[in-house]
Amino acid sequence: MAAFNNRRCPFCKEGTLVIDYKNIPVLRKFTTRYQKIKPKYYSGVCLKHQKKLARAIKNARFMALIPYTQ
């Protein structure tokens, strides 16, 4: 299933293996205005990286680097 506007996974382009929970500006790109995790249909992320992203965002939320909601 093609993503919104045929977007490609930005992580696959750069070939990143690790998505760090400390990398807040990158994480914020994939959260909505209310700090919810964007579905991969809209951000174009592949499943493999979406799972890692989601984990990283949840870890960052636990450590109070990102809010749960706003």
């Binding site: 690790v18 400390k22 500006p25 914020r28 870890n59 450590m63 109070a64 680097l65 809010p67 749960y68």
Partner: protein, 229 residues
């Protein structure tokens, strides 16, 4: 109390149950039996772990150093070593934790045996100054990096370098009133042709005439019997 599974007793230094007969290498294998790991010595290799600590915001920097040293000694006791330390310093939290709005953040990258990880996790849980901690195994592809707070920096740069919007001037043609020129009536001989003296009239008189004509037309329309208004 119902019987609990053996895993919970990992945290105690000495096993509560004596090692079973088939276990030949001593008490260390007690932990490994139910982890489905082979009893080779290669299993007990030092692995890289990363700890992120959130220390209470009420502490002064000296107290933070003291708490850190206490944690490091505990790591050293378990034959671990800290190879990277990063103090982020005091930082605002995204939401209140333990009724505090700011806290000291510290990152420790350590080499540690996989046996003792749970013990250190326990000790961090029990420490009074540590509000939250995250103990994670670091993947082999990971490089220890410092991530800048780009959002704030970018915003300030953008704001500074933003080209200020030019005030748009209204380009609509504003109807300028032409100066009303009052032409004096030229002395013209009265001719029999009775041409309308348009030259002598002013614009006001012309507009009045037009209005009068329009009014007459309206009256005719209204008084017309054939039309139903």
């Amino acid at each position: 109390m119902p019987l609990r599974k053996n895993r919970i007793f990992d945290n105690f230094a000495t096993p509560l149950f004596p090692p079973s007969a088939h276990c030949s290498q001593g008490s260390s294998d007690y932990h490994l039996n139910h982890k489905k790991m082979t009893t080779q010595e290669a299993v007990d290799t030092a692995k890289k772990y990363e700890i992120m600590l959130m220390l209470s915001g009420e502490l002064s920097e000296e107290a933070v150093d003291k708490a850190l040293e206490h944690i490091k000694t505990q790591i050293a006791e378990r034959e671990g070593s800290v190879f990277y330390e990063d103090k982020w310093g005091r930082r605002d939290l995204a939401y209140r934790v333990a009724r505090q709005s700011n806290a000291h953040f510290v990152i420790l990258n350590i080499l540690l045996d996989s046996e003792h990880v749970k013990e250190i996790d326990q000790s961090l849980r029990l420490d009074n100054h540590v509000l939250r901690h995250l103990l994670q195994q670091v993947p082999s592809a990971y490089k220890v990096q410092k991530f800048p707070e780009k959002i704030e920096e970018e915003l300030t740069e953008e704001i500074m370098n933003k080209p200020q919007k030019k005030e748009r001037k209204i380009t609509r043609p504003v109807p300028t009133e032409e100066p009303v020129t009052v032409k004096e009536p030229e002395a013209v001989e009265v001719t029999s042709s009775a041409e309308p003296e348009d030259d002598g009239e002013t614009e006001e008189e012309k507009s009045r005439k037009k209005l009068d004509e329009v009014e007459e037309k309206l009256r005719d329309i209204i008084s017309d019997k054939d039309l139903n208004l």
